[in-house]
Structures are given as structure tokens and as C-alpha cells.
Subunit: 302 residues, 2 copies
């Protein structure tokens, strides 16, 4: 289940409330595109900004609208007791797995993070994805800590933040990780620009930002890699380079993918939680131009 | 009001609930020591980990137990609407000022942060302290942004994360900041090890971690600096160097000051919010040894 394309939808807001219709529409679009799994309330889904009640409702909506596609739910929070409450809610909503990043305000130690994962896996019957996202959590996992946590019963997958640019170094990095984790734990790559390289290097899954809004090109990359057509996967990723450049220029993927969803009419204008203002007019015009150039300028084009 | 020693008490937890008796005791201790202000729900007060309800209750307890000492309340949160709700609660609790750090999960832009402060100062009648704490927020204020925000009506003070080690460079840094902010906005230093140097360099205030648990040595430093006895302030800070070294070695001030409060019987054992485990046994023994060496090993000694 923790292989292939896991698509991360936005949780669009309108006037500081979850736009449930827009969110359900995004999830139905992903189910129709036949992604391998949907991860609601990932970083792209703004989990860190939402209340417990909002998160419960979003988890339920995701499961209700995903059809046969398994839904994973992000449960991260700053306090362990809140994480455990989110895990219970996700289970009650019908989630097939949990995504957990060690959010920080005070920097955490490796023991702090290990005990957090121990507490969650001890309480919840659901499989857990270890979410290593240092750009938002500012926590740096060591490879050794991957190994300690992956030994916990219930750990299903590790989402790594990328792979080295050099293909041989990328393969070596994945081999290093696999050498410290049990065989049943999959390795998934995030950081969309690195995804094709990660799959080529041996990752089992892609935890994907663009997959949540533009599932078709993400599926082309994923299916090519799964079928051993590595050159095709890398070529499709290279074709999307103008999009990856916007991610870099505009401070990360979130603001860009929100503008994409807004441009395609999949989310209301200014759908990110304040204080995140989102892109300005000129930036949005560039996003629209890139979408058109890539043939992704209409919602039906995925 | 935004000058001198502002003492930041812990918000001790016991079994994942606020230990209201211990918190009230800490606040009464600070009032008795005659600190210049008390900042509840600062980083030391674990504001980021607490629910809205817990924060309302803590703000009320702080005001109720502070006697004549003004109480400032930390209102930071990841979402602007939550910040505004916290500001309103703090006002209702009787706070004399607000402390606001731009918490991040997704990295924020300068415009995002400016608009956050604009929203708060537009809504709340209370004066606001701009809390620049990059070690926890991972947001880096530019001096120019200090200036933009300080022009907003209602901004009262800027809490800077420290000053350069070189005394002349430290004075220059404070002059630089003053050159871009209105005269009524004070500058306060945090980072306890740098506090005497910051006061010597011209800071108006010390936003103090140790002041919340060990007010007496913090007051000795502050009063010496205020009376122009810079050498005495620096000497007292140098005397406390073993404590500053523990802050560095043990990953910041919070775990150490929590162990200090626990050692002095001012907070229950393991008073920090999980997943923060706090110090281990050997580390605690070193903290106790340093307290004894400094003559701070008894609660009455402050």
C-alpha cells in the first residue's frame, strides 16, 4: 500500500474556514485519476494550521470521497497528546495509514522523536509513515534514527526529503537507508523535483505535492519508473522543470501549487491559511504561463 | 513599562495538564522579587504547545497572582485567526501587553509577517512586543522589517535574540536598530548569556528565561546595568557562566531552566510538554551541582 504515487491534496480555505466542497472535489479528482493513495493533511494540506475539529472533518471527507483509493492522514502536532488524539480521529475516520512529522517549536532530540513515534505506534493499530521534512520541522533525522524508529511495530514507510543529484550517490543513499530498516518498510521520496531521480534510485513511493493537484503528470513519472522506463520518467520530470524552478524561486512548493489549484478553478482565491499570503499578481501570471506552456492549463488536463 | 527585567516563568505541566498551583507559585515568587514585568506564555512558558483554553487560564492566573507587576502574554500561533483569538483572550484576562513571535511551519515572507503584526495591532488595544526568536520560529527578521513593523501603532518593544560579542559592535547593532524605529519603541535583549552585554550596549530591557525562575541574579544584573555599574553587571553574568554553558551543552535554556525549577521544588518532575523529555539523570545532577556552586540551590535564594 505504501508504494507508487501518494497524492497530497491541498486543504483549501475560504475566509479562514475549510472549503469542504473544494477539498472533496480535489479528492474525487485524485480518485478518478487512479493515484495509488491519497495523503490528506500533509504539509501541502496545511495540517499544522488546522484545529482538531477541522482535521477530523477533513479526514472524514477524504475517506468519503476517495472511493477505493486508500487514504493516509497527517497527524503531526507540537504536543504528543495532540498527536495521539489526531491518530485516534484518523482511525475513526477510516484512514488506512498515518503520516507523522516531528513538528518542532523547541528543537527536539533524537530520543524525544523516537519516543513520539513509540507512543503513536503503541496506541494506534494503523501503519505509520515517518515523515522527514526538515524544511518545515527543522528536525534532522539521522540514518541511525530511521533505523531505530523503523524497528517499531507499525512503521510502514519513511518519507525522505530527497536524494543526492548524482545517480550513483542517490542509489547509495537508498541502499544505506535500506540497510538499517526492515524489509517491509518502504522508502518514499518527497521534494517533487527530485522524485523521478528518487524513483530511479530505488524508492518505492513518491509522496507528491503536484500529485495532489496535477495527478496526470505525476502518474506518468511514477508509472514510467515502475515499469523500468527510467529515461521516460526522467524526461517527464525534465519537461516539468519550469514548474520546479517556480518552487525554488517562490520559496517552496506550497504557494505555487495553491496558485495552480486556484488558476485551475479547483480552489478559491487565497486558499492558504493566513499569515501565508500566497503569490502576488505577477507571480501568479508566471504560474499561469508555465501551466499553459506545459499543457496543464485546464483542470481536465490533470 | 517595556524596560528593565521581564521575567518569563515556565508553565509547568503534570501528567499533560497545566499545574496551576505550581504556575501561580512561580508568578507570586516573581512578584515578591519585584521584577519589572512578567511575561507569561513566552517560549519558556511553552505557549506553542498549549490549547486555547489552557492559554486563557494561564493568562488569568498570571494576572491574578502578579500583584502590581504588569503581565505580558504570549499570543503566537501558526494561524493568524488563532493569534487574534489569543490576543482577545489576553486582553480579557487583564494583560498589560502582548508578546508575538511569528511561528512558522511553512517558511514565511517578510510581507506575511508584517501583515500578521498589522492584523494584531489593528485589532487589539494592547501594546505589542515583537518577538524575534529565530531559534524556535526559524524566521529571520531583517533590520528593515523591524522598522516597518515598529511604525505600526501599538508596537511597544522589540525583543532581539542577542548582540555581537564585541562591545563596540554590540553598541553599533543597537544604534542600527534604533535608527529605524520610533523613539517610543524599546529594545530588549533575550538569550540570557548575552543579556548583560546587551544591557551594556544600550538595550532597555532584558526578556529573561532565568528571570522567571531565578529572579534574584537576573535582578542583580539588570539593576547594575540600569545604575550604570556595567562592570558589576558583566561580572555577575560572568559568575553565572557555568549556567550559560549548560544552556549551550543541553540544546538551549528551556530544558535546563525546567530542571532548575524541578530541582528547587518549584515545578513537578518532568514539567515540560511531551515530546520534550527534558534532561536525563546525569544532566540533572550537573544542574544541581552548578546551582549549589552558585549559591542558588535553594528556592528562597531566587
Amino acid at each position: 500500500m505504501f508504494t507508487g504515487l501518494s497524492a497530497f491534496p491541498l486543504t483549501p480555505l475560504a475566509n479562514d474556514e475549510v472549503d469542504e466542497g473544494a477539498f472533496a472535489g480535489l479528492v474525487r479528482r485524485l480518485a478518478a485519476a487512479k493515484v495509488d493513495s491519497i495523503t490528506a493533511l500533509g504539509s501541502t494540506g496545511s495540517y499544522a494550521y488546522l484545529t482538531g475539529g477541522e482535521r477530523r472533518r477533513v479526514a472524514r471527507l477524504a475517506v468519503e470521497n476517495a472511493g477505493d483509493v486508500p487514504v493516509f492522514v497527517g497527524i503531526g502536532a507540537l504536543r504528543t497528546s495532540q498527536v495521539l488524539a489526531n491518530a485516534e480521529q484518523a482511525e475513526q475516520a477510516g484512514a488506512s495509514g498515518l503520516l507523522l512529522a516531528p513538528m518542532t517549536y523547541q528543537p527536539l532530540t533524537e530520543d524525544d522523536v523516537f519516543e513520539l513515534f513509540r507512543a503513536v505506534t503503541a496506541q494506534s493499530p494503523l501503519p505509520v509513515i515517518v515523515y522527514d521534512n526538515p524544511g518545515t520541522t527543522h528536525f534532522a533525522f539521522s540514518t541511525e534514527l530511521y533505523g531505530r524508529i523503523a524497528e517499531l511495530p507499525g512503521i510502514a514507510s519513511i518519507e525522505i526529503p530527497g536524494v543526492p543529484d548524482d545517480p550513483e550517490q542517490a542509489r547509495e543513499r537508498i541502499r544505506d537507508i535500506r540497510s538499517v530498516i526492515p524489509a517491509h518498510v518502504t522508502v518514499g521520496v518527497s521534494g517533487d523535483a527530485k522524485a523521478a531521480a528518487g524513483l530511479a534510485a530505488g524508492c518505492d513511493a513518491w509522496y507528491s505535492v503536484i500529485g495532489g493537484t496535477l495527478p496526470d503528470p505525476a502518474l506518468r513519472i511514477t508509472r514510467a519508473a515502475q515499469e523500468g522506463r527510467i529515461a521516460d520518467a526522467l524526461a517527464e520530470s525534465e519537461r516539468l522543470a519550469p514548474l520546479w524552478r517556480l518552487f525554488t524561486e517562490y520559496g517552496g512548493s506550497l504557494r505555487v501549487i495553491a496558485a495552480v489549484a486556484e488558476q485551475l478553478g479547483l480552489a478559491p482565491r487565497a486558499c492558504l491559511p493566513l499569515p501565508i499570503l500566497g503569490l502576488g499578481e505577477r507571480q501568479r501570471a508566471r504560474v499561469a504561463g508555465v501551466l499553459d506552456d506545459l499543457g496543464l492549463g485546464r483542470a481536465s488536463g490533470g
